[in-house]
Symmetry: D2
Subunit: 358 residues, 4 copies
């Protein structure tokens, strides 16, 4: 009898249930009645507290299109890691103890960057771990794509579409703030898909004058509106010179709720135009996964099950060049996949006249 | 030869182009080559400045599903009215002069409450005016429904749907701020459609303790999340006692960007739970009209054309008990259609356990 | 203790679960722990066979946006009625016996026309029955609107939208077959919302030459494509002269899978143009209810619960002039709400140049 | 002065306008006023007949999300090739003559497999040609992905989603016929995304008994419904033994409108269950491109412009391992990219218990 635990950790995103279903269906297909799956509640917290339930095959039916996660999640990995630094024994020990108490053969973990740090830690501590890369940010190292990203792109692009019609009718400048504190994948792709005129990413510090110039040129050429797709983590060239700590402090003391509002003030002052801000926020990570994400999640899920069959523990399933491959957790943990400045999608943006503010 | 001018005024919404197309197609169907349609640019501003263009039949093709307005709009009606109070001759005179210079038989106006004040003024000044009620707020007096409302409801309900999956997964309290400074129709309908647990409308001042109690009861009954649909103009019982002027002043000096952020702080303090805020903003008024709005806009448009045929000027087309009827502009102007506290949709909300905060 | 049975019967549609949730939430809100709700499986068949389950409050959570029906359904009402004619005792007696065995205070029935015949029969036989009008056809007598209709309209209009872009690009004639064997509400509304050029309803027999003339005129005016929205039950003027029996026989012996294919052949022969047919079929009745239907279903559900509280049995909840009212089952049963030829939506279609084939 | 011609050929799909816009925007960005773009109407037919128009920059604005093609298209490439075989001089000569008369520096062609045969022919005949791979079938050799595919997948998966709710409620077997006469990419991906239980592709001949067995097993395990995603070109093992010619003849003489209806009859006879068929048809290739396709189209468009800048004629732009690369037309022409039986997406399907009928 195989005993498999499964948990979802970190901020939720679309496709978690599709991936869980993929893992489970593939395990049942492989092992039939000889596998027991345990759903661990609310991410690592459930493993720490021994809070879990035995799942039945029917629990995994009908969840392919369901948003969120049937297992619940909690956003504690980073805090958890910090606590471990100070007082490490307890939480990690608890997780190891519960893993053993549950007599698990493998722990399947679905999460983003923080989650993978912990997954790697548990793997180093001797647990059998297999992981799946989920996040709307697409910033997990080692995989070309994470699930959730395309669903969030659909939503963010749809917001840009709707804003377009209002911007055109009123002749206004609009800023749409798109999720992504550290990386700009979502803003880049949604921005191009949504026809943004200016795209600001954390990876490319902006010069306010360059943005203003673009807006002015559009006005002069008879286009009455401009749309800016701005990542939460977009920063000015001046800010880019700050240390991480200084930057954090500067942002914390900023009088605006977010960068978009600051930009709106600055651009409004310089152009005399009315600037409107839209912040779709968590809306971007909820709802049904798009078909792309359902397929990717299912492929990841089935591949994770296969790693368990082959006892290839300590790996994350990843998409590389169109194929699903295992990547060692040690290679993934602690890294961030940012947008390379020379990537062809940025080049495409420049080719069609989009301003990146630099 | 009939000469008809048409303009869209005020904040844009879905269905404007569908309505414009309806007016035009019905006029061409009726008068054939014996009608000329003039598109007046950017709302009343275009009429004041004599900025317009002769439209051709093909300009009205393919715009049924197009968001925004092909005529452009401007949000000046209230300012306009103020200017008229002080220095009335010029702007109104300009509009009258241009109407005559254009040799119009009728001016077709698409707009909300502010627009209708001006439309009535122009009608009283002797111009032939026919109007259509557009706004996502559904607050135009004299009609059961305005176009734009259902499209905005679709968007706001979709935001609530997406937030639902995240709220469920994380066990959080979410506030979704829905457009509506003066009336709560959109928040009420979207809130019920989106399964909100608490709905706050401008029409029903809230008691913060009542909201907190509802959240606590949900927690105690094992429901880990709560979703609040909050109108921009929601106000507390204390605020409801203020005069209009005092209320405005209080809000202007509020340290939060909007009521939702203040509620988040208050509820967070009282419950100790994490409260997240989502503000879809202008996203709610953009994009393609939903099929309901396309049909309603088209019916309104064709009915407006019929009023022109019958020379029934000075009227707004309205939906009453499922039928399209004319309503005199003088009855519409200056009034606001708020949500009656005893309306059956509010009662339905109470019947299924939704808290209205009172 | 109140004991309430609930069943969904006939072809499924969007909003059934939302309505079930509305009934249940309102009953729990009213009676608290003093009500027991029994879900009867697969429509009347479950009542005949005594196949049901006790529901718990949590069964009604999270189903607002879920398509289909959690209770299952079966399409047997008409067959049932026929069997009753020949051999009536058994089935009706079984239903009455099971109602008594379950000690029900009231049976809540969600269904369309066939369902309401049986509901009325059971009411006449002495059972306490309250019903809700569901169908994408909107053909239930006594109510201005049924739930399901607007969701199906959204889907059918979306199909027309997509076909539009292909038709325009290729310069083709397209036929989209829309559900509705007896009534044309769905085809009429979706047709206008989707910008169809020709709309054929069962209520308005068509003349093929009139259709061909419209297509030719469009071609001559430079429009390269035409789109026909055709109800399943559309019929020619010749067919309209047949008796019901003759018509059925004629259709049964038709060599085409449906009327659309026959029209395609006839129009193709007369115009020499390529005609394409799309049949979205059951796709139109599935998936999540649109926000409009969620609100309507919830209002109907809460109103049905209120009828139970007030012991106003023998009624269907209905929408009349924007208000929810009870209508005696005896008034509803056996009638069909067809599209009146003078209704303003048809007039709107004519006003904007849509051909109805007559 | 650069003079560039552009045409779209073959069946339309989503993303054509986005790609056209990408080409144009990138050319204007590169050459400024030193480029003239000529839109050739209705595919190769326009080149043969010399039917084209000078485009202006504003023609390419606002078309990113527009379905269809602003240039029109015609489905003539194969017929064209046949005519060339018999009587080759005329049509090809006409195209060459018009290319010269228009003084083009390059012809940009957007199309699928047939289109690429002709593109290669024209290239071999000495014209400067650059092409982009468009088709919902994703069957163009040399590129991992074509644009249109993901938009069609979204639609087909959505149809499956909606059918799911009805199938579940009624306990029925449903067949959804998905576009693809020669290849099964769309059916495979939409089938997995939509949770189909049986997926039939042209690449994997099916055994009817294997399908029936799957349906029976599902019934026995308590699942009351089964959903089949069937490619238009699905064929039985018996049919797979036929020569191409024999197969065509067999299908032509088939009494069913398509394979789905034949399967419905066969499965119905063997299981005694009610089988319903849905054929979304051309609906799958229309409407707005999804955000994925908008990004891919734009990348392809900008890359095609770059090939023109670099005078790298005779190439198709392609996606390979996440990068946009040129592929010689001679390598693309006449080939078909079918689904490899060992591809991991098929394996994923098998892993989660989907039946491929073999």
């Amino acid at each position: 009898m195989k005993r498999i635990g499964i948990l979802t950790s970190g901020g939720d995103c679309q496709g978690l249930n599709a991936a869980i279903r993929g893992v489970a269906k593939a395990l049942y297909e492989e092992f039939g009645d000889n596998v027991e799956i345990y759903g661990i509640n609310d991410g690592y917290r459930g493993l720490i507290e021994g809070n879990y339930k035995r799942m039945k095959p029917e629990n995994f039916s009908g969840i392919l299109t369901l948003g969120g996660t049937i297992l619940g999640t909690s956003r504690q990995p980073f805090k958890l890691m910090r606590v471990i630094d100070e007082n490490s024994v307890d939480k990690v020990k608890n997780m190891k103890d519960n893993y053993k108490k549950m007599k698990l053969d493998c722990l399947v973990v679905l999460g983003g960057n923080g989650t993978h740090k912990t997954a790697n830690l548990l793997s180093e501590e001797g647990l059998n771990v297999v992981s799946l890369p989920k996040t709307i940010d697409n910033d997990v190292w080692g995989t070309d794509m994470t699930f959730g990203f395309h669903s969030a792109m659909d939503i963010a692009a749809n917001v840009l579409d709707c804003i377009h019609t209002t911007a055109t009718s009123h002749g206004r400048v609009f800023i749409v703030e798109i999720m992504g504190h550290k990386v700009g994948w979502l803003t880049l792709y949604a921005g191009i898909a949504g026809g943004a005129d200016v795209i600001l990413l954390p990876e490319i510090p902006y010069d306010i004058d360059s943005i203003v110039k673009t807006i002015r040129q559009r006005n002069e050429s008879g286009k009455r509106f401009s749309i800016l797709a701005v990542a939460e983590g977009a920063m000015s060239k001046e800010e880019a010179k700050l240390s991480k700590k200084e930057f954090k402090a500067a942002r914390a003391s900023m009088t605006y709720p977010s960068i978009s509002y600051r930009l709106a003030k600055e651009i409004g002052d310089k152009t005399g135009q009315e600037i409107r801000v839209t912040v779709p926020g968590h809306f971007q990570r909820g709802g049904s996964p798009c078909p792309y994400d359902r397929v990717l999640s299912t492929r990841f899920g089935a591949a994770a099950a296969k790693l368990i069959v082959q006892k290839q523990y300590g790996n994350m399933v990843a998409l590389q060049n169109g194929k699903i491959v295992p990547v060692p957790l040690s290679e993934v943990a602690g890294k961030l996949k940012t947008v390379p400045k020379d990537c062809d999608v940025i080049q495409t943006g420049r080719d069609i006249g989009i301003c990146f503010g630099d």
